[in-house]
């Protein structure tokens, strides 16, 4: 099962090293990993593969790690049920432009090195435009768990 994890840690690199070690130890297969640094925090976004039964434990394990400030877990979904889109555009930003054009109200959750996580506006989630995004670089997700109190989690808004 494919999951997308976003994590925010304090600005201590030790916390990030610990997270990477946990990913290895918990046997997560990392498909994509992006990280950004800000003066007060590190933000990570990773698409991983793991058994669905392990997700509860993984989420809870990550959220109680010292130095981890927020964890949000997204499940790979059909476009029909998705509220978030992950785009791995590598060097071609046309995919992002396409989504932003179709959904100008969408919210940028994470961006780093051509990898974007966008939240699609509620009223547009079942839009044919989104459903038509069959490019393998587009992965639809639904948020299933978050440590953030807000309904819609929001991580670092960082420079693409």
């Amino acid at each position: 099962m494919q999951w997308l994890l976003t994590l925010e840690t304090n600005n201590d690199m030790i916390s990030v090293c610990r997270l990477m070690n946990i990913f290895r130890r918990k046997n997560l297969k990392i498909t994509t990993l992006a990280m950004t640094a800000r003066p007060s925090a590190f933000s990570l976004m990773s698409v991983v593969e793991s058994a669905e039964a392990d997700l509860d434990h993984l989420f809870n394990f990550l959220r109680r790690i010292e130095g981890v400030q927020h964890v949000t877990c997204y499940r790979h979904e059909s476009f029909r049920n998705a509220s978030f889109v992950f785009i791995d555009s590598e060097e071609d930003n046309s995919g992002v432009a396409q989504v932003l054009k179709a959904f100008p109200e969408s919210k940028l959750i994470f961006a780093s090195h051509g990898k974007y996580l966008l939240e699609i506006p509620v009223e547009k989630r079942r839009s044919p435009a989104l459903a038509g995004s069959r490019d393998p670089a587009f992965l639809p997700f639904a948020c299933v768990k978050t440590t953030r109190s807000a309904t819609h989690p929001e991580l670092a808004r960082v420079q693409a």
Binding site: C17, R18, H57
Partner: protein, 580 residues
């Protein structure tokens, strides 16, 4: 001009503010500035003979006091030698703060003499690791370290201190604290969750309470006992939970799992409700997962949300401090004014029948010294408030089965990691916390040889630890597995080539004695425990004795082997002859 203090002075003052009474450590180049400051500081330091003993001693201190134990090592090998002890503390959720020296900041990453990537090495062995980059940040880092060690699920924390930081001067800027850090614990349950738990308890006919080390960490033994008494639910403990419930309480089932009693494991197999409190369903407890308490609904009380549904799916999780959660459960039960269902009495009778069918026992008429008899005798003559520290292996399991537990924080065992060599230094740490209590280290001849060099430490500081060696001239538990599961192909588990422990003790200046006959055990134990000096006693026990019951690896609890295969008739006849 404000007064300046060295990083070492700031560190020692920060430790004083955390009410640290004793450090367990061993000096080296990178921590020389710290030891120089220690020369005139008010904190006691126990010079161990190997840093692993420092970590184990800090762990023992923490288990008996509930406060973080502090160990100290220099850079490089000093730090790496601490790692086993820290990993053990992590597995058992014990608050330990490890202070390690590091090469000066300017040399870090240059492969300097005695440089090791202590932070990197410590990551999987600690709850949190800090690298201090300036003397000014020493007070705040120490405060964070102590807070992290005790908060939530406690655990070990490492603070890496470059020599340049220890020597650098800075203003003293201590964060405001009134005393030692108090634990902060989350509460994620609601009143509705508690009511649901009460419903499940009242509906159950064959409930079992299953208590782990979390009960002791939360100082929740009284609440747990009240819950058992109020509901008439029998209670089993993990190896870590021993002592949180009195062994001789009518509802006590003792330890469960791989070496749990027959009645206990049968109760788990047939219960209809299992209430886990501060326990983590580890593999030595559950046996084969798909057949663990197969007919039971499960409630899990734990401070660590990541333990919920990790190994066993539960029907209801109450994430929070065990004491607070149990109090909420008790209050809700009392509000309902509910009485235990009558079927619960039948359940207790059934458990009693199992107990009669296969009691925990051994050959009490054997001519040789049975290790279980030694444990029982030590328990019989030990003080009421004695602390017992065990090593790892067969004697540890016999200790768990045959020691009479009466109080929490008096049983020290490297339970999760199972680190041999733990018992003796842990006892030393406990004795430093409670100089007036009797502290007994029950060790095997294998494990003791891993840390016996600290006999020098107990003599130097007159630490009156009592060391009882259960000597079967073998790595007994491994040999037992070779016997049962590897067709008696005994490979390198024979420890016949061992020192004479009595002479060894005497060489260190400790009185030693050897016991080889069953009839001598009681007198020897009484003499051994009669004074306030470190003492060693070497019990030559039956090397063929094995730990039973045993659940074979990968089997369910119901598949436990309750007793050894019947011995050959000739051997039985020989035994009879000896008995005459």
């Amino acid at each position: 001009m404000p007064k300046l203090y060295s990083g070492s002075e700031l560190l020692l003052e920060s430790l004083s503010r955390q009410k640290v009474e004793v450090l367990f450590g061993l000096p080296g180049g990178a921590v020389l500035p710290l030891y120089d400051a220690l020369y005139s500081a008010g904190i006691r330091h126990l010079l161990v003979r190997h840093e692993q003993a420092a970590a184990f001693a800090a762990d023992g201190y923490a288990r008996v006091t509930g406060k973080p134990g502090v160990c100290l090592g220099t850079s490089g090998p000093g730090a790496t030698n601490l790692i086993t002890g820290l990993t053990s503390a992590l597995m058992d959720s014990i608050p330990v703060v490890a202070l390690t020296g590091q090469v000066p900041l300017s040399l870090m990453g240059k492969d300097a003499f005695q440089e090791a990537d202590t932070i990197g090495i410590s990551l999987p062995s600690t709850k949190q690791s800090f690298l201090v980059r300036s003397a000014a940040e020493v007070p705040s880092v120490i405060q964070k370290a102590f807070k992290a060690a005790v908060s939530g699920r406690p655990g070990p924390v490492l603070v890496d201190l470059p020599k340049s930081v220890l020597m650098e001067n800075a203003e003293a800027n201590y964060p405001p604290i009134a005393g030692p850090e108090l634990p902060e614990r989350v509460r994620e349950w609601t009143d509705d969750d508690v009511e649901r738990a009460v419903d499940m308890i009242l509906e159950s006919r064959r409930a079992v309470l299953y208590a782990g080390g979390g009960v002791i960490t939360a100082n929740a033994s009284d609440e747990l006992r009240e819950l058992a008494d109020l509901t008439h639910i029998p209670l089993t403990t993990t190896l870590m939970g021993l002592g949180c419930f009195p062994s001789r309480h009518p509802l006590s089932l003792g330890m469960l799992g791989m070496h749990g009693a027959y009645a206990t494991n049968m109760a788990i197999c047939q219960c209809d409700l299992l209430i886990a409190v501060g326990a983590r369903f580890d593999d030595r407890v559950t046996g084969r997962l798909d057949s663990f308490a197969p007919n039971a609904k499960k409630i899990h009380l734990d401070v660590d949300p990541s333990e919920v549904n990790k190994n066993v799916r539960v029907d209801l999780a109450l994430v929070g401090d065990a004491k607070e959660t149990l109090r909420a459960l008790l209050a809700a039960l009392k509000r309902r004014n509910a009485t235990p269902p009558t079927e619960r009495q039948q359940w207790l009778q059934r458990i009693e029948a199992w107990r009669s069918e296969h009691p925990l026992t051994y050959d009490k008429y054997a001519n040789n010294v049975k290790p279980q008899f030694v444990i029982e005798t030590l328990s019989q003559y030990a003080s009421d408030d004695a602390i017992v520290a065990v090593d790892v292996g067969q004697h540890q399991m016999w200790g768990a089965q045959f020691w009479n537990f009466t109080r929490p924080r008096a049983w020290l065992s490297s339970s999760g990691l199972g680190s041999m060599g733990y018992g003796f230094p842990a006892a030393m740490g406990a004795q430093m916390a409670f100089p007036d209590r009797q502290v007994i280290a029950i060790v095997g001849d294998g494990g003791f040889q891993m840390t016996l060099n600290d006999l020098a430490t107990v003599v130097q500081y007159r630490v009156p630890v009592k060391i009882a060696i259960i000597n079967n001239r073998a790595l007994g538990m491994v040999r037992q597995w070779q016997e049962i599961f590897f067709e008696k192909r005994y490979c390198d588990t024979d420890l016949d080539f061992a020192p004479d422990f009595v002479k060894l003790a005497e060489a260190y200046g400790i009185r030693g004695a050897r016991v080889e006959h069953r009839t001598d055990v009681a007198d020897a134990v009484q003499d051994f425990l009669s004074d306030r000096e470190p003492r060693l006693i070497d019990f030559w026990v039956d090397p063929a004795e094995n730990v039973y019951p045993i659940v074979p690896p990968g089997a369910s609890l119901a598949e436990m082997v309750v007793e050894p295969p019947r011995v050959l008739v000739e051997e039985e006849a020989l035994d009879d002859l000896w008995a005459v």
